[in-house]
Assembly symmetry: C2
Homo-oligomer: 388 residues x 2
């Protein structure tokens, strides 16, 4: 019973800001900055899809509440696209427009979890998902799969962490932070296991448009009766500040999700939804085609300079830096980076990975990102010991 | 353990949409529509504060993530205004910008509540607050105070519902739905009781700018060490679709609120925050002065036509229609209204009020709202029995 000055026990265990010590170190640096810890894009939104392109005269409801499920025109466009991309029967009722994929995953967890319920998270995972589970008093359970080599090993890893309170399995593909695109056989194995065990399946597919090797396999296509797939206009079209994403899931579940989203953010910002409707057409397709080519190019070059395999998808590389850590471990390494103007995300934000760092190669223009990569490559060079 | 096809028990008890049966009835009506169930304004945002007024050239970060606490310029403006209005020492750390007051109240409840904790809600209350408490597995406890005549009776009502699991007390003034502005002595009594009992105090002050009789008393001014006050740019400045509000609270609590908000909606939409920064100046003050005068005029006229006291604040009237109900009760009455094009909010959305309806007199232009009021006045006339 957290009366003042005590707080919710589940929120108290969520980690807070992880960048303060880095930010402090970086203040002393007078050179160029490389904030490669942010998952974002340097590209501006497509022509006609900026705020200044929206005329109140064309959209009289632009500054008023949108319907809680989303703007009808946007829902129609999402239904059409979902049917075309996944081949799964999809109706308007199966769609919820949300304040980014964050709001969508919140609506999913809020609708599903009783206090103490466990959610298996294939790890490394998108950092916020563990806190979303915890904020609804669920228990996030990491399932490390970094070294898994096939569907059988993947299932063994999942089963090792499953228990009687497991209610759902979360999978993020294309993966943030690893850049891995899960092969079809892996996603099939996960869907079959979820069905066998009676679990919900949650697919975080915000990078579905950014696949450079192989193909994106939608989780929902394989077990539509139990699967929620979350998407993000932020990630797909370079409009993270707009806070617009969506969830598609089983019809009978969506009323419960709408209840949670109504009580989390009421409705998704109206202007963001008007813009999202616009980009779900040829303008957006062209933007994605250009962005994808440019992301791939800079991702491949970053990987080459760092001596790691090129990313299969997403906008990230996840690097094992264990050979370069001193007794103080990762914080010391990250402070060394920060003193050279380079910010990275620490591995523990993504699960039990105390010796990894994530870098985003799209959050600043390619030439800047690659100069940041060079700073890191220099620190990781075997000829140059890392020291502070 | 809600595995498919079961859901979170706390979400299952949150009521869903309440307007479907009314909407169905309304479809048969061919005349003018009066959607007075929506809490919104017919006015457009102030000059320079529409989306089309924002130039990406002036705001290069317009479509990118804002900092999770909010845009620095907006936080500065909120701090300055809060100090001026409340006289309470307020620092940047005490402020969180949120996706409307909904997101703000969610961040508060998520930060405070362990499963089973009880929150006292002075009732009638803003409809979503009970569901926000429930979505974080808390227990909303209504404290009816419609007939209370002074601070002593108010405290007696509060104590009658308090218990060992009570952790917080929620008060909404100016009140949605009643239009009541709580007198200073009442708010003082609540603050003293919260301090005596060791409760948090939550002030929902989204209508602080719309007071027509008496003065608004900020809850936070009376017990700043334990009080969170929630505000809304939507309500103050006619931009509900932007989804921007804010919370001010005790410094040591705000880190916990930021954790919940980060995991609910990540950050408040950037464009909405740029606009909010603009309205916190003379442009917004002028807009509010005009809106307030016009709201008061239509509110007074609506009250006169319905034969009830004029609203003291907010944009609502809350009417006891018990004398006009048949055996089927409120749903039947509301369907009768809907058949004449008039939508109202049912009393039970605001607490234990089975014989009340709420109407918003600002959601459509005054002349339309008043024609809707006339429909209701006709149904409530003692000379005309309500029948379907």
């Amino acid at each position: 019973m957290p009366r003042p000055p005590h707080f919710s026990p589940s929120v108290s265990v969520i980690p807070g800001a992880v960048y303060s010590s880095q930010a402090e170190r970086m203040r002393a640096w007078k050179g160029e900055l490389y904030p490669l810890h942010v998952g974002d894009t340097w590209l501006s939104p497509a022509e006609g899809c900026r705020m200044e392109d929206l005329r109140a005269a064309d959209h009289p409801e632009l500054h008023r509440y949108a319907p809680i499920q989303g703007l009808p025109s946007l829902i129609d466009a999402i239904v059409e696209r979902t049917r075309a991309r996944t081949g799964v029967a999809t109706e308007r009722e199966d769609v919820l427009v949300t304040t980014g994929a964050t709001g969508g995953l919140g609506a999913i967890m809020g609708a599903l979890l009783a206090p103490g319920d466990e959610v298996l998270l294939l790890a490394p995972y998108w950092p916020l998902v563990a806190g979303i589970v915890a904020s609804f008093h669920g228990v996030p359970v990491a399932v490390p799969f970094l070294d898994v080599r096939g569907p059988e090993e993947l299932l063994a890893a999942v089963r090792a962490k499953a228990g009687p309170r497991t209610v759902a399995l979360y999978v993020n593909t294309p993966n943030n932070p690893t850049g891995k695109v899960l092969p079809r056989a892996w996603v099939e194995a996960l869907a079959e296991e979820a069905r066998r065990q009676g679990w919900w399946l949650i697919g975080d597919e915000v990078y579905e448009d950014y696949v450079y090797v192989g193909e994106h396999v939608s989780t929902r296509a394989l077990a539509p009766e139990r699967t929620f797939s979350a998407y993000s206009f932020s990630k797909a079209y370079g409009m993270a500040g707009n806070r617009c994403g969506h969830v598609v899931g089983p019809t009978e579940a969506m009323g419960h999700l709408r209840k949670v989203s109504t009580h989390s953010f009421y409705a998704t910002p109206t202007a963001a939804q008007v813009v999202a409707t616009r980009v779900l057409g040829s303008v957006g397709d062209a933007w994605v085609a250009n962005a994808s080519a440019r992301y791939r190019e800079v991702g491949n070059e970053a990987a080459r300079r760092l001596g790691v395999p090129p990313p299969e998808g997403s906008t990230f590389l996840f690097l094992d830096v264990s050979a370069h850590l001193d007794a103080r471990g990762l914080p010391s390494f990250m402070e060394t980076c920060a003193e050279r103007g380079l910010l990275l995300s620490p591995g523990p934000s993504f699960g039990p990975f105390p010796h990894h760092v994530r870098l985003c190669f799209t959050c600043v223009p390619p030439e800047v990102a690659l100069r940041g990569v060079d700073v890191l490559a220099g620190l990781l060079s075997p000829r140059r010991p890392v020291s502070r």
